[in-house]
C-alpha cells in the first residue's frame, strides 16, 4: 500500500517505528493548514513559517509521547499554538516597528478603518481582495489572543468546539463564549459607525 493512502494514525505509527519518509508525508499533508493557522494567529509570514518548522521538529522529536496517534493534527496544532503564544507575548513586550510599503494605501485603509460614514464594509464589496485582507488582519490584530485563536480555528479551520477546546485547553463553554465575544468585537471594529450595515 502506498504511503499516501495511509491515515494520520498509520503514518504516526510508522514514524514511531523510525520511518522518516512517513513523517515527511505528514508534513506535506499538514504544512499548509499549519502555516495558515500560524499566519492568521501571528499576522506575519516569517513568524508563521518559523512556527511551522519548529512545530514539525518538536512533533518529530516527541512523537513517542503522542498517546492517541489518530489525534496527530490536534496535537500538532497545539504545539503550534504554544509557539504562537510565545511569539504573541514577545511581540506584545517588544513590538516590532511597522513597515509600511505603500503610504497611499495605508492612508486609505486608515480612513476605511476610521469608520467614516461613506465606508460600507458590510457588503464586502467595493474593495480589492488585498485591501479586504488587510482590513480583516488589522481587525483580528485588535482581539485578545484567545478570541483570535478561537475565531481562526472555528471560521478558517472549521474545527468543532470540542476540538478547539482540546487545542486551547479550556472548556467548550469558554470556546463558545470566546467566539461570540470575538465576533461581537470584530463587528464593532469593522463597522465603528453604529449606523453601519454590520
Amino acid at each position: 500500500m502506498g504511503l499516501v493512502r495511509l491515515t494520520d494514525k498509520e503514518l504516526v505509527e510508522r514514524v514511531a517505528r523510525g520511518e522518516g519518509e512517513a513523517f515527511n508525508l505528514l508534513v506535506a499533508r499538514w504544512e499548509k493548514k499549519l502555516f495558515n493557522y500560524a499566519f492568521r494567529l501571528t499576522g506575519n509570514r516569517e513568524d508563521a513559517l518559523d512556527i511551522c518548522q519548529d512545530s514539525f521538529t518538536r512533533a518529530y522529536e516527541q512523537i513517542q509521547q503522542l498517546k492517541d496517534a489518530s489525534k496527530f493534527s490536534f496535537w500538532l496544532f497545539k504545539i503550534a499554538r504554544n509557539y504562537s503564544v510565545s511569539r504573541f507575548r514577545q511581540e506584545r513586550n517588544h513590538p516590532r516597528p511597522q513597515v509600511s510599503g505603500n503610504d497611499d494605501e495605508d492612508l486609505d485603509l486608515e480612513n476605511l478603518l476610521a469608520g467614516t460614514p461613506q465606508v460600507r464594509i458590510g457588503s464586502g464589496q467595493g474593495f480589492q481582495q488585498g485591501e479586504l485582507r488587510l482590513i480583516v488582519e488589522r481587525a483580528l490584530d485588535q482581539l485578545p489572543f484567545e478570541q483570535r485563536e478561537t475565531i481562526v480555528l472555528k471560521i478558517y479551520e472549521g474545527l468543532k468546539f470540542s476540538e478547539i477546546a482540546e487545542i486551547a485547553d479550556c472548556p467548550v463553554s469558554t470556546v463558545k463564549s470566546r467566539l461570540y465575544v470575538g465576533l461581537t468585537q470584530l463587528r464593532k471594529i469593522l463597522s465603528r459607525d453604529e449606523r453601519g450595515s454590520l
Binding site: 523510525g18 513517542q64 479586504l132 480583516v136 475565531i151 478558517y156 463587528r187
Partner: protein, 234 residues
C-alpha cells in the same frame, strides 16, 4: 426563550453546531425579537466577511525534513514507553545503595551484636582478650589457662614498674660515667694542644731573637766596611 438565552445560542448557530431543538426555539424567538434578529444578522455578516477576507495561502516554501538518525523504538523504546524505565532506574539505585552500604560496613569491620541489652555496634578488629575474673572467682569463658587475682596482677604491675625503674637508673648511671669519661678525654686533649702551642711559641720566640742578633751583626759589619776604604785613601 428570552434574549439572553437566545444570545447564548448565537455561538452554536454561527459555529454551525446548533442542535435541532435549540434551532427551533431560537427561530421562534427571532421571529418576535427585532434586536436579536439585528444582532445575529450583524454577527453573521461579520463572520462571512472574516472568512472571505483572509483566504488560505500557499506555504512560501515546502518543508522537507532529513532524518539522519531515525528513532527506532525497539526494546528500549518500549521499555521507556511503558514506564518501566523509571521503575528499573529506581530498583538499580536502591540495589547500588545497598551494595555500597554493605561494602562500607565490611571495610569498617563493623560487628553487630544482638544481646539482652539490645543491639551493639562495634568497629574494627576485635582481639580475644582474657576476661577479668568476676563474681568471686567465677571463671569467665576464656581459652587461656592462666588466671590471676587482682592483687597478683597489681603485684606483677608493681614488680614490672620497679624493674623498669631499676633499669632506668642503671642506664642513667652508665650514661653519666660515659659522659665523665668523654669530658676527661676532651680536657686532656685540650691540655696537649695547649702544650704544643706553647712549645711552638717558644720556638718562634727563639727564632726571632736569633734573627735579630744576625741582623745586628750584619749591620755592624757593613758599617765597618764602609769606614775602612776612606782610611786607605788618606
Amino acid at each position: 426563550m428570552n434574549c439572553d438565552e437566545s444570545r447564548a445560542l448565537f455561538a452554536d448557530l454561527l459555529g454551525e453546531e446548533i442542535s435541532t431543538s435549540n434551532a427551533g426555539g431560537l427561530k421562534d424567538h427571532l421571529q418576535s425579537c427585532a434586536d436579536c434578529r439585528r444582532e445575529l444578522a450583524g454577527l453573521s455578516r461579520t463572520r462571512n466577511l472574516i472568512e472571505q477576507g483572509w483566504p488560505e495561502e500557499s506555504i512560501p516554501q515546502n518543508l522537507v525534513f532529513e532524518f539522519t538518525q531515525p528513532s527506532v523504538p525497539g526494546f528500549w523504546g518500549l521499555w521507556e514507553r511503558s514506564g518501566l524505565a523509571r521503575l528499573g532506574l529506581a530498583t538499580l539505585t536502591v540495589t547500588a545503595g545497598l551494595i555500597l552500604c554493605f561494602v562500607s560496613l565490611a571495610l569498617l569491620q563493623t560487628h553487630l551484636t544482638v544481646g539482652r541489652n539490645g543491639v551493639a555496634v562495634s568497629f574494627g578488629r576485635t582481639v580475644g582478650l582474657p576476661s577479668a575474673q568476676v563474681d568471686g572467682g567465677a571463671q569467665a569463658p576464656s581459652s587461656l589457662p592462666a588466671l590471676f587475682t587482682r592483687q597478683e596482677i597489681q603485684n606483677l604491675i608493681n614488680q614490672a614498674v620497679l624493674e623498669l625503674e631499676k633499669n632506668q637508673e642503671a642506664r642513667l648511671e652508665q650514661a653519666s660515667v660515659q659522659m665523665d669519661a668523654r669530658r676527661t678525654a676532651d680536657l686532656r686533649r685540650i691540655a696537649n694542644e695547649l702544650r704544643v702551642l706553647e712549645s711552638t711559641q717558644n720556638i718562634v720566640y727563639r727564632e726571632t731573637l736569633s734573627n735579630q742578633s744576625y741582623v745586628e751583626t750584619l749591620a755592624r759589619d757593613m758599617v765597618l766596611k764602609m769606614n775602612a776604604p776612606s782610611r786607605v785613601s788618606q
